[in-house]
Structure formats: C-alpha cells, structure tokens
Symmetry: D2
Subunit: 198 residues, 4 copies
Amino acid sequence: MHPPSIQKLIDLFSKFPTVGPRTAARFVFYLMGKSQEEIEELTKSILELKEKVKICPFCFNSFEGESKLCPICSNPSRDKTLLCIVEKEIDLEAIEKIKKYRGLYFILGGTVSTFKKGDIEKLRIKELVKRIKERAEVQEIIIAVNPTAEGKATALYLERALKPFNKKITRLGRGLPVGGELEYADEETLSSAIEGRK
Amino acid sequence: MHPPSIQKLIDLFSKFPTVGPRTAARFVFYLMGKSQEEIEELTKSILELKEKVKICPFCFNSFEGESKLCPICSNPSRDKTLLCIVEKEIDLEAIEKIKKYRGLYFILGGTVSTFKKGDIEKLRIKELVKRIKERAEVQEIIIAVNPTAEGKATALYLERALKPFNKKITRLGRGLPVGGELEYADEETLSSAIEGRK
Amino acid sequence: MHPPSIQKLIDLFSKFPTVGPRTAARFVFYLMGKSQEEIEELTKSILELKEKVKICPFCFNSFEGESKLCPICSNPSRDKTLLCIVEKEIDLEAIEKIKKYRGLYFILGGTVSTFKKGDIEKLRIKELVKRIKERAEVQEIIIAVNPTAEGKATALYLERALKPFNKKITRLGRGLPVGGELEYADEETLSSAIEGRK
Amino acid sequence: MHPPSIQKLIDLFSKFPTVGPRTAARFVFYLMGKSQEEIEELTKSILELKEKVKICPFCFNSFEGESKLCPICSNPSRDKTLLCIVEKEIDLEAIEKIKKYRGLYFILGGTVSTFKKGDIEKLRIKELVKRIKERAEVQEIIIAVNPTAEGKATALYLERALKPFNKKITRLGRGLPVGGELEYADEETLSSAIEGRK
C-alpha cells in the first residue's frame, strides 16, 4: 500500500531492536517531515559509525580515537586481576555507571539457551579462552550475565569451559532488588536472599 | 561516556517518535553490528525518501511515481462527493485498510488543543478551505479525527470553519469498540452507544 | 500450611470474582485484625442481603422495600415502550448512571458462546419471551450486551429468538470510544465508526 | 443508587485490601447469587476466625489448636539460635514456603517511614526487645523486611535498637532477582549484585 521507497525503509527500520512495522512507519513519516539538512546529518552520522568507531581487540567494547585498546583496557589504574564477562556492550555500560567495579571486561556477544555447537559458536568463547591464557594476572572471573533462563544456561557453560584455568569464578549476587517485596518474590530469589544474608 | 560519534547518533535517534535514549543506544549498537553494505542500504534508503517520494498537492498524502496527484486522488472510481479529513497519513492508511470508504481524503497535519492563532496555523486550514471552494462536487465532509481531547477541540474548530460552505459535515460514529464492556465504559462512550443504537 | 479455619476462609474468598488465593489470604489477615464488633457488622450485613434484598419479578434487578416491583419497573414516568436487555445487574447500573435511557430493563443473567441447549437454558430466555408477550406496549427491544465474542453470539441468538414478535430490535452503537485512536482501532470498530458517521 | 443493605455491604467490602467500590459491588452481586447455605457457610467461617485462631505469644503468628505456642515456636527441631524479623504474617509464610530457613520468627507488625515516636509505637519493638532479652540462645537476628524505602528505614531503626544486645545482625541478600536484567537494574541493586558476587 505504501510507495516502494517508503515500504523499503519501513522494512529496514522494522529490523531494528524493539521496532515493529507500525513504529517503523512512524519513523518514516517522521523523517519525511525533516529538512534535507537534517536527513543528511542523520545519514552522515550513521556512515561515520563504521569509519570512526573501533572495536577493542581485547574486550570487544566500542571506542573512538587513536589508541589501540579501548579507554578501559588501556587505563593503567584498572585492576588487571579482575575480568568481568558481560553479554553485551550495554551491560558493560550499566556496570561502569555504578563506579563500583575497577577491573577489566570481556563482551561475550550474546547468550545461549542450548549447548549446541551452532549456538555456542555465536559467542566469543575462543577469544575468551585466549584472553585468559594470555593474561596470567587474571585472578577472578566474574560471570555477569543476566539471571534469566538463557543467562543461567550460558553461565553454566562458561563455568565448565573456564574450569581448567583454575581461576576464581564468581557470579553476580542474587537476591531481592530495591523495592522488591518478599510476598511477591519467586522462590529462587527468596532462597538467594535468605542464604546470601549478611 | 560514549565515544562522540556514537553519542551523536544516539541523540539523533532519541528524537525519533517513541524513542528514548536507552532505545536509541540499542539502535546504535544494532547498527554497529551491521556490515558496510547494510549500513549503506539504510542510508541510501533514507536519502531516497526525499528524492522519490512526493506529496500529493490535493490531499497531502505521500506517494511515488510520475503522476501529479496521488493514486487515491487520481483514481477516477473514487467518490468525489466525499471528503474525509484525517489528522495524519497513518490515519488515512488505517481507513483505507478497511476498504469501506471510497471518497477522497485531506490530511490536516495535526490537531490543536487551543484555538490560538499560532496553534491553528500549524494545521492546513487554508489549504482545506481552498479545496472545498474549488471542488463544488463535495457534498459531505467527514471529520475523522481521533475522539481524544485534542481531536475533539480540532473537530469543533473545523465545524465552525467549514460551516459557511453549507456542506453536510459528519463525524465518526462513537460507541463501544469491539471487546468493550458496558461496565468499564466511560459515560460519554456509553451515552454515544445508547443514543447511536440501531 | 495455614490453620484449617484460616484455610477454609481463604478457599471461600478465592471463589469471589477476581480474587485469587493470595488476595484471599490478605482478606483473611485483614479480618483477623478487626474487632469482634466489626466482624459481626460484616457477617450481619452479609446475612441481611438474603433477607432484605428482593429480586424484581419483571426485570430481575435487585431492590429493597415493600413494593412488588423494583423502583425502575414501578416508576410511572419510565417509558414502557422501550425494553433494554442487559447481561447483568452491573450493566443496568452503568446505563442508569448516564441518565440517557428512560425505558425498562431485563437482566438476561449471562451470555453464551455456543447455541447449545445447556448453555442457552442458563439465560432467562423463557422469561424474556413471556415479558414481551405480556407487554404489547413494547415497541423497541435494545440488545445491550457487550460487543465481545460471547456478547455477539448472545445478541445473534436473541435477534433470532425475538424475531417472531415483530418488534424493532436494536443494538448499542459501535465505534471509537472516548480517547480511542484510528491508528490503533481494530478493523471492525473502525468500519462501524465510518459507517455510523453522523 | 443501590438499596441500603447492598450499599452497606459494598462499603464494608471496599475497606478490604486491594478492593475498590467496583470490585466490592461485584462481590455483593456474587453473594446475591449464592444459596442460603453457602451464605451461612461464609459467615460462620468468618465468625470462627476470631474464635478458633490464636496469636502465638512469642512470634505473633496466627495458629489454631490447643498448644500454647504456634507450630513453629513449639517445634523442637527448629533452630533457636536464629530469629528472623518479618513485617507481616504473609512474609513469614513466603519464607516458610521455600524451606531454607529453620529458625524462629518474630512478626513486627508493620514498617515505619519516620522514626517518630507515634510511628515506632505501632511496631512491636518492646516485645521484640523482651524476646531477645529472654532468649540468650539467640545468636543471629535476621532483619527480613522488604528492601523498600519504608523497609530500609525500619531496618535501620531495628539495627540501632538491637545493637546493645551484641548479637549478629544480618539483612536479606540483595541483588538481581530471577529474570532480572543488568541493563534495567537500578544502580543500588546492581551495586549489591557486584559487591555480593560469589
């Protein structure tokens, strides 16, 4: 029903995370109301992403600039004995924001729900193992994946895969979140809260 | 905290309808995972919007192609005695989709919550009046704005503005929607349902 | 896990509409904090329901007092040519509240999703037919059931069952409710809104 | 609009936790459809609450039976060195359900948002202090209030009030709940999760 060039762009926006066809259509109508300058500012910014932004060869975090490693990995005051494995860049950012962790990161690139070879190969397991071999100074590996079903399967896989390296392996503390109520907590969360009391 | 070229794009996506900074960041991380070809397909599609898509000089609907008017306005089998005023293109599409209306449209470009001159001038009132003057064949004007507070204020303004032309002016039927329940209906909706029984 | 007298009451409250075991438990703990006087006020009020409240033999509405019919049925100023069929008492109240309808009511006692004999017999169809036969003055029968799937099946059944009486039969007006938006309306609602424009 | 005996009962049900006038009305209509036997079963059950259910003089839990203390307090296999302070009975039940805690309880009777004398006196602080003085065997006091704003204020007050007794005082573990996501966690919860890793 839409003209082809509108439909094409709706299809492309529909692939964006959280965006369905209806929202994609709103995006297109929004862009149609913008001036030629605004449109070019947007397309130029999108193209520059690929040109300017680099991926850190150690942790896979994105950054910009002349240095070889990202600002976290190249910061001499970070604690090189700690390695925190996160699923995706936005989780790394969430942890950085609270300013409680001073170690290094490794972005795994996803989670798995099964241990099938095809699923596992989508994660950066080989790269992770390589980092741990290269960096003898790492003493604790923090598996900071989400306590969802997929995250728990992934954590289990990681624990097994990293066991041979004889490092301390930890997971994020589990328990009641701020504002949580005992009455409505699931049994697993409440068990963690009771057992993890301090 | 983000590199400047990422932050710039987050800011631009944050202006998209329904998008906040968190979703905008997800869009950027999504794009960073795309190949150069996919990025260029997206930017090319965005740029082509302005080049290929035309706005119909009668109804302000967007379309593509060589013809002067949009496919609806240039369709000889549409009923030229009916003119349906909608707020925005997406409402026109919603009505087209149900295939019950065979008349013409006019996209008003928004709604107003006040009758202040500055607000009113954002709507295409002058263009609407011009169309009605030019097209003596129009017999019924359907004010198909949403029955929200803003929509009702806009409908009231339109009724006054269009009164001098002595056309039949109608509004969309009001009542219980599919799946609605009397018990939970607001009084105005229930009144419309009782009075509009048939 | 609960003492038996608590569990018994939780079970009874769990049968109340919209109440699950968790809410039922909260009700019981609430009652346990009440004084003996307050508890007796509640149980006395519950027992008085059966004693004082009568069901109107014409419309099946509940009422209190010495008169034979309910206040609506015995009100000489109500329009006896109109009969509005509702599913349940709370719907009758919703319509009374808007003060736009001045006719009589008939409470059907439910809706059906199938036309099976067992389902149909749960409704007061026989009583309804009897009322319509007795009251020759009825000119319009308004089928005011909810436009849900069950409501629509029930309305269809009623239309067929009442057809032999040659009365005007109407249904509630359908369309966009207050605050509704064309963009998000289902096709049936939007069709009703277009066709029912006025 | 309702008959007085219906309105009276709606008013009483409206005071139940989580119940508004609309739900209260549904409760009344539900009861009106019940038989005399069912109504009497309900009112008898409500009256028996006060007669049969006793409050444990140690922990304030409710129970039924001939014994002086509740089944938990009179169970010789429970660990008397642990005392878990909960806000309300339903929290005690939530903890019992997960079968991970084998100590005793104390139901505080609420939480406070301020340390004003009037507010504090609504809690069973005096009784709690008395229990701890009487029971030298208590070694750990677990403050198991919700990590809400009120709960945290209450926990702070309890910690201060119980400090003179030189017992180990713990709180529930905090962190990400099952199904929680780093990306959406508040900073305090994420800090607890990082610091409480294990």
